[in-house]
Amino acid sequence: MTTTATGQTTGAEDNPLIEGLERLPVHPTVLVIFGATGDLARRKLLPALYNLAHEGALPERFGLVGTARSEMTDDEYRDMAIESVREFSRRPPDEKVLRKLFGDVRYVSGAFDDDDIYRSLGQVLGELDETAGLALNHCFYLSTAPMFFPMIVECLGRHDLADREDAEARVIIEKPFGRSLDEARELNARVLSVFDEQQVYRIDHYLGKETVQNVMALRFANNMFEPLWNRNYIDHVQITAAEDIGIGSRAGYYDSAGALRDLVQNHMLQLLSLLCMEPPVAFESDAVRDEKVKVLRAISAPHEAEVPGMAVRAQYVSGIEAGIEVPGYREEPGIPPDSRTETFAALRLEVHNWRWAGVPMYLRTGKRLARKVTEIAVTLKPVPHVAFQAPEMSTGVRPNVLVLTVQPNEGVSLSIGAKIPGTRMAIRTVNMEFLYGTAFLSESPEAYERLIIDAMRGDATLFTRNDEVEAQWRVCDPILKAWERMPGELASYPAGSQGPQEAARLLTGTTRWRAV
């Protein structure tokens, strides 16, 4: 038995025609989007499908079924889908491809707890199989509010839609995967009571970003970093995910989530795992995910009493952003004036294993900070002896910093000491910069394009496994619980600033937060 390029497990022979092809075949598939009229579907999923179609990357036989509460005919849904692509696609659509893509789209309306929609769905899927003349794989994309995830999954199981005899059934689940460790465990249990783990694709769209995948390329395709990649040479790590914008139209979601749940529990811990993991034996889903989980398990879950010393939260107040006065968080539309939701979170974590023991890992994220940047900064230890003794010579001798920028300017920068031109030996820090955009003159695909096609192909490498999600929550859950019980006013920071001063107390020794 082997797993094919299409993710089919089979005892059949290999397909000799796929050798050398850049785009490997994907088994004929129907994608069913639950929440098909929502913001995510309109802004991301439908444009991603269009771009895959444009490039000829969709399966040879592809069907799309939208499901949502709104009453709509197939034709009305088609029009909505076409408009969404025209509005949000990264490239102007080719009208012929666009019309063909959605030409046979089907739409099933109803409440997600209503058995009728699953009966209708089963019927539509049967019709699509019949039209295709073969058993199509089914991918169910849950792009709904999280409270519907377990309900939909259980209904799919009850209506025999969760597994197929001669094809695959898969479920793609959007974030957030639970709001706490208990919820994540319960959700995992309910999902896994219907689907096998191999059928479940938990989305963390950060993993679909080319530059996040490049963290692995940088580490495991270059011999120069590996000898330094440990506690002997690395002083500390700072991972920053700063946004200059506020909460926009996400007030309802954001106020119930906060910065820790929104970014740290998933995206930032993913970045930390990729940065700290051991080299996987192969770039295969379980080999990669096994190593990431080991990193997460090596991070101690803090006791409540430890939380104030390792975590800081804060909320933005009004300030100046890009020369314009902007309101504070509690003055944003849809936010309660007494909200205690954090818009900034900073943590100091340690990975207790042979490679990383004693190296502080600083994570911080926030809304309405000075600028938008997501980066990993790895600061090396200082040289053991400075030969340039005179102060005017040695002031420029600084520890090397390797910065992996995820957005907006994807690249790698290494700061090194260099001699300032002149007759004296004076040192200054200069940067060796590498920008992905200058080395690969092409437009990267959207994260969702990569993730949708990977799920259809059955490649789970860039999706979060059940134990990984729980390991992430195991780190964040005690912090959230401690914060809930912590009395008093939240720390604050002016919009457009570097964040709260309180964040500095997490830093050890002479370390400073990097400028946002």
């Binding site: 094919t4 050398g20 092809l21 490039e55 102007p92 063909k100």
Partner: protein, 371 residues
Amino acid sequence: MAGRVSTTDAVWSEQDTTPNAIEAALRRLVADCHGTTAHCVPARTLNLVCVVDREWSGEIANRLRGVGRYHASRTVVCAVEPRRTTIDAQATISVQGDPRPGEFAAMRELVIVHVGERHLRDLDTIVDALVVSDLRTAVWSPHGHPEAVDALTTGRAGGAPLAQVVLTDAAAEPEAEDALEREGELAERSEVVDLAWLRCTPWRERLASAYDPPARRPELHTLSKVSVRYRHDSLVSGLLLVGWLCSRLGWRPDQLTRHGELLRGRARARRGEVELRLEPVTNGMTVPGLAGVETRSDLGTLLALERGEGGLTARRREPAKRRGEDVFEHVWTVLGASRGEPGILGEGIRHALLVDRTFKPALAAARRLLG
């Protein structure tokens, strides 16, 4: 970046110049450009050396402008004039886009060098100074000039060649035999990226997909007939597609015979013979490439792919499973936008950075088809 335009152009030119002077000027231009606007940074992806007849250099410039997403970071155009004895050059650095604070824009570097035919045999000695070291270098010579390609792809005095990749378009050559022979020769020492091969990539992908479901894979070994239809100038694409099938499926092709416009022949497969047919289409296809591919099997199945709206129109027919049942036939569209000729050239430039191990065996089989 849609809607944004070139905002920065830095230009240098000199008559009767030398490669070293051009190289020095390029370095100054890059430094000046970066110094004036720090968000403009040099791109370092691929050197593309184009050898073109001067009188057609405008057309080539237009083709290069249209490649879209994929373009070389430094393009050196050697515009050939028959009787020229000196070298004139113009270097331009342009920055696409209008970066906001915190963003960057990549520079594109274009050098046009006016050379004479007498320079072509030693063109590597001129171009050497003009390409960025340690980057992959591709050469594209759409107007012939094989001596220039040889100079760039053959190492001088046993050294490494200047160019590692040759971009060709066998469909643009008058004789398919000559074109494939030349590619075979080049492929011995360089990577060859043939636009005629890239034009059949979607067809190869679709054939691979059609036979990928595990239940359909055994059908590949029962194929009994392959028919390919192509635009009158794209026989090479058809030959390469059939050559690819032969090489991937272990068929030994015999030489095709000509029956009017039709080329017909056989390949020996393990189970028996496979009939091969290549035929030009008479209707007005607007772009070079393939018009349709059809495969039939001993099992009575048929798969036909045709150019259609929004992608390829696919048709699959299976014989009735039981007596009295209908023949099973399905028609559907395999989605995909046409890349157009500029897009094909862009793909060629992108493929100059990749290695395609299936091309050489397909080329070898295609050459056997022509005897």
